[in-house]
Point group: C2
């Protein structure tokens, strides 16, 4: 499953506008969550799975591959997934959501 990931066109990028591709990529299940859970130090695939409420490894692996192809996540040499500088930058934009969420459902 999950095949046509990032290389040339992500679903939603039919218009060619990068923002649409990004919105689509982040709008898939667990994408935002993965970015969020990786905000600290790198996690192994299993630690990530635990952090993500035991989501099925199938999707996690698919998202991880997509996010890697997009250049946001990388697999460290000694194992464990971490954010690339680009991914960390993206993560910075997600962080404010934390405080927002607290106010939203407090």
């Amino acid at each position: 499953m999950a095949k046509q990931a990032a290389s040339g066109s992500v679903r939603g990028s039919r218009t060619g506008r990068p923002i649409m591709a990004l919105l689509d990529l982040l709008g898939r299940r667990w994408s935002l969550r993965i970015l969020w859970e990786l905000r600290g130090e790198p996690l192994t695939s299993r630690a990530l799975r635990t952090a993500c409420d035991e989501a099925s490894p199938t999707v996690l692996q698919a998202r991880l591959t997509e996010l890697r192809e997009a250049g946001f996540v990388e697999l460290g040499e000694g194992g464990g997934y971490g954010l690339t500088p680009l991914g960390r930058e993206l993560c910075e934009m997600v962080m404010p959501l934390h405080r927002f969420a607290e106010r939203w459902k407090g």
Copy 2:
């Protein structure tokens, strides 16, 4: 479809942490896109559908209901969907993604 939306628990909020509920809500297909398309003036359901690349009305309607229950979107008296103050605030956090996306896939 689309039943257990926002009221008490959104999928992913099993831990009770608001950020997870928000991340989950925004991580559904078209959620972010809808927020993005509504950044300007209110749109009618059909205009929104057109803006969203002719996505099926089924999901759009489902997302719209969820976002309305979450308090981010509202249906104006004379028709047309617009952002609530809270939704506009959330949208402000999505906006920076535009420039980021441009640099990402230039």
